[in-house]
């Protein structure tokens, strides 16, 4: 009985997926736009009632114009690409180091006892305060920003990895022992698969943190980048451009987050 009903429910799920989008799906999409529309409307109303506010708030129309023009502004994209390049590099370096450190610390309680106090002390430092130091050592180019980004990304992965390793069920370890798993086999067949979901959610967050580190560092000082653009525009009181740049940032990092979510769903289909 159970087998039959289970099979049927799987089939019907597959069927509905094939049938394409139903009305509920469309209502869902529309519902997602409602908060955005409400926000822009309130923004617009505020300016209608008190036009002097547009000095700080700009106007939806001006921001839209900036966004439109920015698409073909090569100077703007040079800065975007400088920021993104640094973001990806710090994402990559920070993740690799964080995962490696997180796993090796979890494998040895002695290494953990030695390193953990320093790790939590370092992690509690406001990293933006380190930016001037990194920039002084590494210069106004990519290296300085990357260092700030890495200092954030590293800890995200380090702590996620450790939480993941801790989530190994004692029953699974016992099974591994009764099956005489070697150290290597236990690592690859138990520890890594268990940790993988936490690593992945760490990676998803890490991109946002990499961007945070890089842009903060650019705001302190840099030769190019979106952080510098924001500083420049706000010094000139070009609020439309400030908001426009922020929107681009949101779109890019939100997009990466969304894509990572899709990939995660694929990879973690067993969940």
């Amino acid at each position: 009985m159970t087998m039959i009903s289970q099979k049927q429910s799987m089939v019907s799920e597959a069927d509905s997926a094939r049938a394409g989008w139903r009305r509920e799906d469309w209502t869902q999409v529309i519902e997602r736009f409602i908060p955005g529309i409400v926000f822009v409307t309130l923004w617009w109303i505020a300016i209608r009632f008190n036009p002097s506010l547009s000095f700080y708030l700009s106007t939806p129309g001006d921001v839209a114009t900036f966004l439109g023009e920015s698409v073909s502004d090569s100077e703007f994209w040079r800065n975007v690409s400088s920021t993104m390049q640094a973001t990806f590099i710090s994402f990559f370096i920070g993740s690799v180091l964080g995962i490696a450190a997180g796993i090796s610390v979890s494998l040895s309680p002695r290494v953990e006892a030695a390193i953990e106090p320093y790790a939590s002390a370092l992690n509690s430092l406001p990293r933006i305060a380190l930016a001037p130091v990194f920039i002084a050592f590494l210069g106004l180019g990519t290296a300085g920003k990357v260092a700030v980004g890495v200092s954030l990304v590293f800890f995200v992965l380090y702590y996620n990895c450790r939480a993941g390793v801790k989530s190994v069920d004692p029953d699974w370890s016992m099974l591994a022992r009764t099956l005489n798993f070697s150290k290597r086999k236990t690592f690859f067949s138990l520890l890594l698969p268990v940790t993988w979901p936490s690593i992945f959610s760490g990676l998803r967050l890490a991109f946002t943190y990499a961007l945070l580190g890089v842009v903060s560092s650019e705001i302190v000082a840099a030769r190019a980048g979106m952080g510098q653009l924001i500083m420049l525009y706000s010094a000139q009181f070009r609020m439309d451009a400030v908001y426009g740049t922020l929107i681009w940032m949101g779109v890019i990092s939100g997009g990466v987050y969304w894509i990572a979510g899709r990939v995660e769903k694929r990879i973690m289909s067993w969940k």
Binding site: M174, T178, S182, P193, W270, K271
Partner: protein, 261 residues
């Protein structure tokens, strides 16, 4: 209560798959109390032994000893006439929880013990597939545990235990978490497989009727000692349900229940 002869002659030891001699166990957290107190026990090749007793009386501890998960404080364990560490080669251990790895499909879960033994991939697949068929899950090899029912998951765990062709099977309340109907089905299937394979089974359960219905011999543990050890009068082949209706069942049941208090 009939006591079982304690002396182990070299001849009988050969025919024994498991021998415990004056084994005591205590844990480091509480070294004063002996969880197992000077226990001696012989289990013959192919015997189906049920181990019952109150919660915390040391049933799981005995299985863990045999599986090598813990070491005895005193005494000696021999498996197939050899030192425990050597004789332990082909032991299967099954828990109350299925312990399936959720990121592996049913098939891959069953293959796992073979992977650890370095069996080539081709043979692994074939053997795992065969075991899944035997437990009636031939069509579910590619399912992840999350899309299997409770009973189906437990059957995958049984397949995973059988796949090594264990000559000694340790089972710790394997059917405890199942509903009565599923449980009876699995018990029947299990008896059938056991009859085909002739493994020694040590079966821990809280459920006295289950112990009496399934086993050749029932051992009761109390306060770290064996307080009952006797053969069951029902022959083979048998069905767990008909044993419950057997007039002799009531007598055995009453006798053991009084011991359990």
């Amino acid at each position: 209560m009939r006591a079982v002869e304690k002396e182990v002659s070299p001849d009988t030891e050969k025919a024994c798959s498991v021998v415990l001699e004056d084994v005591s166990v205590s844990f480091s957290g509480n070294p004063g109390t002996k969880v197992l107190d000077n226990i001696s026990l012989q289990i013959r090749e192919g015997e189906f032994v049920a181990l019952v007793g109150k919660s915390g009386c040391g049933k799981t501890t005995i299985l863990n000893l045999l599986a090598g998960l813990i070491e005895p404080k005193q005494g000696n364990i021999r498996i197939h006439g050899k030192e425990a560490a050597e004789g332990r080669e082909h032991i299967g251990y099954m828990f109350a929880r299925d312990c399936l790895f959720p990121w592996r499909r049913a098939q891959k879960n069953v293959e796992m013990p073979l992977e650890a033994k370095g069996v080539p991939a081709e043979e692994r697949r074939a053997r795992a597939r065969r075991e899944l068929k035997r437990v009636g899950l031939g069509n579910f090899a590619d399912y992840y545990p999350k899309s299997l029912s409770h009973g189906m998951r437990q059957r995958v765990a049984i397949a995973r235990t059988w796949v090594l062709d264990p000559d000694i099977l340790l089972m710790d309340e394997p059917f405890a978490a199942l509903d009565a109907q599923t449980r009876l089905t699995l018990e029947r299937d299990f008896l059938k497989q056991w009859a085909e394979r002739a493994s020694t089974v040590i079966f821990v359960t809280h459920d006295l009727p289950e112990a009496i219905a399934l086993a050749d011999r029932v051992i009761v543990l109390g306060k770290g000692k064996i307080i009952y050890d006797d053969k069951m009068p029902f022959g083979w082949p048998r069905d767990p349900e008909t044993v419950l209706a057997d007039p002799r069942f009531g007598k055995v049941f009453a006798e053991i229940r009084d011991l359990l208090g």
